[in-house]
């Protein structure tokens, strides 16, 4: 296998050149602890605060509303677990959707097992949730709404600004998991009307193991992680300076590429090419979708087999099939769309970045039909 065609950018991205260049000094010469007084330490401190300013500019927030964390997952855990504590006198009801990433889903499950009452709004066949359903789910004891900005498996972009408006009217805190959105689509916190927004470095060209949380000024969120008092007492642990610097540099780079017209064009070319394969369906919202995500189900075949055959041609992709998950359950997101277990089994997600080319798409469109055909010829469900 010579060339790799990387179409799994929703899983993680290549680290952007700018991120590597920006981070390198902090992996080599500039290793000081930002809490130290001497110049070497202060160099790290300056880099940290500059990174915070960069992130704030992109989010349209103030720098002191941005906190760095160890991952998107940590940001989400912190946001949800601490937001509900702020409102514990008001009640124990949380509203979310049934297509959230496990980072949100399992945090809510944990809270549900510990006395909280969770309403999961049902998505429609495109992965959209209804504002009316949200409105009628709101109760006097509702303390938090958490709905993702965009879905990682099917690329659907949700109506965050409208949800936020409703949350404001009803004085309910609103968190959004924007891990797939930041650096891909506009995510100005004022336009989105959010109180809390989580994202992650490695989905936008930064390194793995660094995330950030936007916390609206005035929300006195308690820390999730206690210790030496870094991040203004809110998130302890010596700051991951190389990671934070990479996140900020990658974000600046990513935002510079927006709107991702070229990525969108390649995505649409991929979608129309793949849909030429018989009994193949697009999953997610055909219109309101992330520029980089093309997702499908192929009837009568199974996703892990598909991934293995794609891999033999150097094509990297992912699937929500049961066999490719550790739990052996098909993805809850695909089931939430109303797909049968059997159909959800044949799912494929191809996710693009600015690094992808027409050549990548042509190559994929050349290989994929034969692979699907091969698997269908083996399938007891396929009868021509």
């Amino acid at each position: 296998m010579d060339k790799i065609v990387y179409l799994d950018n929703a899983a993680t991205t290549r680290i952007s050149k700018r991120a590597i260049d920006a981070m390198m000094p902090f992996l080599t010469e500039d290793y000081g602890n930002p809490s130290s007084l001497y110049s070497l330490g202060q160099k790290s401190k300056v880099a940290l605060e500059n990174a915070r300013k960069t992130v704030a500019e992109v989010l349209g927030s103030r720098p002191d509303e941005v906190y760095f964390t160890g991952s998107g997952t940590e940001s989400i855990n912190w946001a949800i677990k601490s937001a509900i504590k702020l409102k514990q006198d008001k009640g124990k009801h949380i509203i979310s959707s049934n297509i959230e990433h496990p980072a949100v889903k399992n945090t809510l499950k944990y809270l549900g097992d510990n006395g909280y009452d969770i309403t999961y709004l049902e998505s429609d066949k495109h992965g959209q949730i209804s504002l009316d359903a949200l409105r009628s789910s709101l109760r006097s004891d509702t303390v938090l709404i958490s709905v993702m900005t965009a879905n990682n498996e099917i690329g659907t972009i949700l109506p965050i600004a409208e949800i936020g408006k409703l949350a404001r009217e009803r004085e309910v805190l609103f968190h959004t998991d924007a891990v797939q959105a930041v650096g891909h689509i506009p995510t100005d916190v004022n336009e989105l009307n959010v109180d809390l927004l989580s994202f992650s470095g490695h989905k936008l060209g930064g390194i793995k193991g660094v995330g950030a949380l936007y916390v609206k000024k005035g929300l006195l969120l308690q820390p999730l992680i206690h210790g030496g008092g870094q991040e203004r007492g809110k998130r302890s642990g010596t700051e991951n300076i190389p990671g934070i610097v990479s996140l900020a540099a990658a974000l600046e780079d990513a935002v510079g590429h927006m709107p991702l017209r070229e990525v969108t064009r390649l995505r649409d070319k991929l979608i129309s090419g793949v849909l030429k394969i018989p009994r193949t369906h697009l999953t997610g919202d055909p219109i309101n979708r992330l520029p980089g995500i093309a997702s499908f189900v192929f009837e009568c075949i199974e996703g892990e087999s598909l991934l293995l055959l794609l891999n033999q041609h150097g094509i990297c992709a992912s699937s929500g099939s049961a066999c490719s998950s550790d739990s052996l359950d098909p993805s809850h997101v695909l089931l939430a769309l109303g797909l049968s277990h059997e159909t959800a089994h044949g799912s494929l997600r191809l996710s693009l970045s600015v690094d992808n080319t027409d050549e990548d798409i042509d190559f994929t469109l050349e290989k994929l039909p034969g692979i699907v055909e091969k698997l269908r010829m083996m399938s007891p469900l396929w009868n021509g």
Binding site: S321, A322, C323, D329, M378
Partner: protein
């Protein structure tokens, strides 16, 4: 995560396809992940002379079906019945533990086909097959 042998069988599966004139057919479904395996047999004088399979499932499911068809071909019915899922997995140089249930599917598919063979001969299969075809491996789908 898969051995070379698994990948080899997955990439070039043996005996794949339909067999319209089969003497016996066994189809089982995997309760764990929802996959389906179908095995077709041609039997002559208690000897399995030809075999085909169709599988809707993961790489391990395809590879176990493929090697299982090789293992039963030319065997007598009773020898074929003694093939265990462990023997199937071993023949593939092992499977990841999360994928052992796929080899169970292969064992059950063979047994289901042989059950069908006995039934078509008017013989009660239970005492021969020694499986009520209601276990987890076949999910009671027989």
């Amino acid at each position: 995560m898969y051995s070379e042998k698994v990948m080899e069988h997955f990439t070039n599966p043996r005996n794949v396809g339909n067999m319209p004139d089969a003497d016996a057919v066994g189809e089982v479904g995997n309760a764990k992940c929802g996959d389906i395996m179908k095995i077709f047999l041609k039997v002559d004088n208690d000897v399995i002379t030809d075999v085909r399979f169709q599988t809707f499932g993961c790489g391990a499911a395809v590879a176990t079906s493929s090697i299982a068809t090789e293992m039963v071909k030319g065997k007598t019915i009773s020898d074929a019945l003694s093939i265990t899922n462990k023997a199937v997995a071993d023949a593939l140089d092992g499977l990841p533990s999360a994928k052992m249930h796929c080899s169970v599917l292969a064992e059950q598919a063979i047994k289901a086909a042989i059950t069908d063979y006995y039934e078509k001969q008017g013989i009660d299969p239970t005492s021969h097959v020694g499986c009520d075809m209601q276990c987890e491996g076949c999910g009671g789908s027989h």
